[in-house]
């Protein structure tokens, strides 16, 4: 692609600005509202973006982690702090597990000829389409009555790992195909066994693919509500479950809810800015190499 920038007409730039506003506007509005008091939210004379900001909402949500006691918080509700830690535990462990196990399977599917390869590949593709709502009933029944995993971290981590595996296997395959086989053969000549080849030669090369897969996996584990809601107990609830529980039908403290939403949205937003290239490559690989 040439480095020279084409000349565009001004309407084009106006259109782009409008699109950017539509795309990030709602997020900006959420961010702004998270710094508003509830009085300001309901006061029509206070503009959406220009007002005197306050961090009270964040203090209320994070009261558990503060080293001082904000005076406007009469009762510190520890729910959110605990949920944040739970979400991190569940997200990180399930991402680690999914990646390790998933790239081993992807490697086998790409590099070895074996009986049943076609069937395994097809089953993986089909399982990628199973929605959480479909898993709700059986997973609740099995985890509760057979595995005894209800209300534990293990139960949630297990189902997130299983849900993400097909997708991760799928996108990693298209990265592994591109690893030059000569490198692997050379390592084999030097006496490395298949596991050494995999961990020492293949993994370092497919790092961008792993990064993409990690972001997608973490994002699902971090954002998922339905199964977390059915499987978690009081002490293992994740942030999405806490948020839904805190919306009552009539009386919503918008400032606090938006602050909570922002805290849940920040990690994915940061990931997107840091690794947008990997995300886009991963998306393309995962979708197009059907």
């Amino acid at each position: 692609m040439s480095a020279q920038t084409e000349k565009q007409n001004p309407a084009f730039y106006a259109l782009i600005v409008a699109l950017v506003v539509m795309s990030v506007g709602p997020i900006a509005l959420m961010l702004a509202t998270s710094f508003k008091t509830n009085v300001d939210v309901y006061d029509a004379s206070v503009p959406a973006f220009f007002f005197s900001p306050t961090i009270k909402n964040y203090e209320t949500v994070l009261c558990n982690f503060l080293w001082y006691e904000p005076e406007h918080v009469d009762y510190c509700d520890p729910t959110f702090g605990r949920a944040l830690v739970n979400s991190l535990i569940v997200g990180l462990i399930s991402t680690g597990l999914t990646l390790t196990i998933g790239c081993m399977a992807a490697y086998a599917l790409v590099r070895f000829k074996f009986m049943g390869r076609g069937a395994v590949s097809m089953t993986t593709l089909l399982m990628r389409m199973v929605p959480p709502a479909v898993l709700l009933v059986p997973v609740f029944g099995i985890w509760t009555f057979q595995y005894g995993l209800d209300q534990t971290y293990t139960g949630i981590i297990l189902i997130y790992t299983a849900m993400n595996l097909p997708f991760v296997i799928w996108i990693l395959q298209s990265f592994i195909v591109q690893v030059p086989i000569q490198l692997e053969e050379a390592a084999r000549m030097d006496g490395a066994n298949p596991f050494q080849v995999f961990f020492l030669v293949v993994l370092p090369i497919i790092q961008p693919g792993l990064a993409a897969a990690a972001i997608f996996t973490f994002r699902i584990a971090w954002n998922e509500f339905l199964l977390a809601n059915a499987l978690s107990g009081r002490s293992t609830r994740t942030v999405p479950v806490t948020i839904v529980n805190s919306i009552t039908e009539y009386d919503i403290n918008w400032g606090v809810i938006m602050a909570t939403g922002m805290l849940l949205a920040i990690p994915p937003i940061l990931f997107t800015f840091v690794a947008s290239k990997q995300i886009i490559t991963g998306m393309t690989a995962g979708a197009v190499k059907g």
């Binding site: 309901y42 196990i101 390869r117 059986p138 086989i181 949205a265 990931f271």
Partner: protein
Amino acid sequence: MSVAIKANRLTPYMFLAPAGLILIFALLYPIGYMVYASFLDWSPSQRIGQAEFIGFRNYVNLWGDEAFRESFWVTIRFAAIVVTLEMILGVGLALLLDRNLKGMAVLRTVFILPMMIAPIVVGLMWRYMYHPTVGIFNRTLKSLGFEGIPWLSDSTWSFIAIVIADVWQWTPFIFILALAAMQSLPRSALEAAEIDGASEWQKILMIKLPLMMPVLIVTLLLRLIDAFKVLEVILVLTNGGPGLSTEILALRIFRTAQEFQELGEAAAMSNLLLMLLMALTIGMFLYNRVQEARVARQRAAAEKDDD
């Protein structure tokens, strides 16, 4: 086709074993269990062994259940409308931005933000914006002297409201895939068209879109499959209401299990939804097989002309 490495006969199975075990115990087994559960009259307080086997009665009940039929049609309508809108907007946006621009990378990053945010949070954001008095839409309308719109309390508007929220979140998905496909088109074909004096529109209609068609169809099917899974945004925005106007199938499954405690019936619905998605997936797989071969031939021909 990939190249295979020679190894012990058991090696591939050792690489596959961990994934295989997890998938069997945490996905395949639950799916089998669900099929079995769909034949039971089962409530969450019972072990599955204690539930009464009632044959196809859950399915028969669903057939006669108007609320279920309604939610089935809401789902189909929702999926068809959002996917159509997202395809048009996403591909249009990609065509618009398929040029050498400064800051293109930043733009792409900005445009993928919506799809990275938790559906629960997206639901909250839009619920706030749709709020009858404090929401930005009605506030703007009123300050311009118009009436506010009953976004979430009128059945037509609430359906429009969930469509808008979904289009906001998922158009970026189509945009990124379409843009990636466009940028990997063989330049020779486009240059040849330019030499022949083709207009911008002719290039789009005669070259870009036809060559991208296979990728676009897969994108469409993927998005369609995902549109059937949408749940959290709608749960937070409308919880299916008012009435049943936004109660999509996934939400109905959730409520049948959670509120009405009818696990057997929820399992029967899940089963139907899963079969629908499997059919779409297999269709996509077959389509892909055929198209890949066709495009490979076309590209080979295009590159040959070039030489």
